[in-house]
Amino acid sequence: MTITRRIVLAGGAGALAMPNVVRAQGETFRVGALNPVTGAGSPYGSGMQRMIAAAVEAINAAGGVNGRRIELFSEDSQTSPQAAVLAAKKLIEVNRVRAIVGTWSSGVSLAVMPLTNDADILLMHTSGAPALSTPPVNAKGLGYRFQATNDRFGRAFAEIAAREGFRRPATMAFNNASGIGNTDGFRRAWAAKGSQNGEHVVYEPNQPSYRAELLRVLNTRPDVIVMGSFLPDTTIILREWFQTGTPMKWIIPGWAANPQLVQALGPAVTQGIIAVESVSNEGAPAFAAYDAAHRRAMNNQPGTANAYAAMTWDMANTLALAIEQAKSFETAAINAAIRQVANPPGEAVATFAEGKAAIAAGRKVNYEGASSVLDFDQFGDVTPDFGAYFIEQGQFNRRYVVKI
């Protein structure tokens, strides 16, 4: 038979009349991974990126979402809002991604969310700034936070400070939304316990020395300094504190008091520091799946080494399950489905494949994540538990877990 114009037209019309899924066979659902591969978040960024890729691989192996493969585009945020905005623009305008996952540090997420809002796509992040919960930043409710807010971190700090019997806490905060969020959260929670707050210093980033700021705090003779800080400034402050020889304790968020800090300063300086980090959902089946993937991708390092990688693993799975649940690729429908697949009630599922099968069978699912049980409140925030890690001879020993 000869191919006439009429046959071609008829074929085209037939193709258009076919259901979405069939026509879309070549199409993919595009997702942008925007992670801190360099900059202050670099200890976590590569792991976060690789765990998104590993989760997407598993999702595609299970048949993809609504019949489409997920296609991943990865960019480095450089832990810098300016670089992150450029990368997000590229992901949105050039790659046409339908969601951005895995931003780290509040400065970055605060800068990227207006772009994702404008493009009407989802942003899943690991940043702590309280402002990310509410309008104007999260005006469309398209932002989801897989990490605890800085305010909750501050509450955990206060619980730990009380449990350790500290009486005269001072606070030092890096001058950004995250640092101040931590110390404000602590000071509020501490005051709510009926206790007195001490000196509070907000310092500028990128100084060669923090001696003057530190002496201002030490002059008030605190028994503990609670930090809202990042790794580079914490390194300098602790070195200068050690030189003063002042006996006193520290409570520091886990993204600043990490093995890199011990490596830079040595075990003598870091002895006795209390590092506080949200704890992954370690007993859960989802964590076991994540841990295996993390060991494969990251040179046999256990999944517990990077709490943020567990969060990004959960981001990919939550997003994919929500798409399955929504049976749509439209942002509004996916957004409406996220709490349906992540929050109770429903059948607890640990992997995308499991959840996909349950959804296909018409059951309501509740994804219990690797990073936390992953139940989103009205603001798109989760409430993980917190571990109090004591640095002893350079080792991080988790003494107890705090629930708030």
Partner: protein
Amino acid sequence: MAEALAQALINGVIAGTILAVPALGFTAIFAVLNYPNFAIGALATVGAYAGWVGNTAFGLPMAAALPVAFLAAALAGLAVQWMAVKPLEAAGALMMAIASLAAGLVLENMLRFGFGNELRGFDLPLLRDWRFGAFRVGPQQVENFVLALACMALLWAFLRFSRTGRAMRAVADNRDLALLRGVDPVRVAAVTVAVGAGLAGMGGMLVGLDTSVDPLVGTRLVLSIFAAAVLGGLGSIPGAVAGAIAIGVAEEVAVLAFNPAYRLVVGFVAILAVLTLRPSGLFGARAG
């Protein structure tokens, strides 16, 4: 309060003396080549890494690692001068300044590629401060202070007694007259850039000794260096030293008086005040 002020003065003088080393480099390049070299921050970082490599990989003590820092930064400074700045010489000082700024970004990111973003510490024991009554001062601070003074003494001797040093001063004072007297301008420019960049490298290493080495260690200093040079009078050697000490002290004292978040303002206010009240700076005759 008086004690805190005195302590801030001590810390400020030490910080300022260390700051004076790269500020001298910056102002020397300005005096002879007539443009502000904003690669100075990245050159300081190059020096910090070179000194760190010398110390941790080859076990050099500080006094021996400093010349390594000088040499590496001097070579990098010459590369910046010849590859980025010199081709734009005809376009004027502003273009040269912008070229140096861009070259600094390139250098910084080359270091980032080579060494990564991690913080590196020198292989030094962390020592407790010495205490004198209510005051304290760190042994490392004192060592850095002495090393900074030694760098400046060497520079002074070089400018005062060596033939090349005298030629540099001659070109800075009156370029045309110096050329008439047979000074080789290319050679003087090269030596000035090498010495200026080398000083920046030593300054970067001294700061890295006290804190840590990372790709931004020099960039953090740029505003303070520029403010010190402007305050002292761009192109004035004693001015750079006086300006650096004044900025060092002002930054420390400001933290006592104001919210530390405004510490950065000190440099900007100093630049603004000088440009408004005395554009030639404290010691500058020619910059005005």
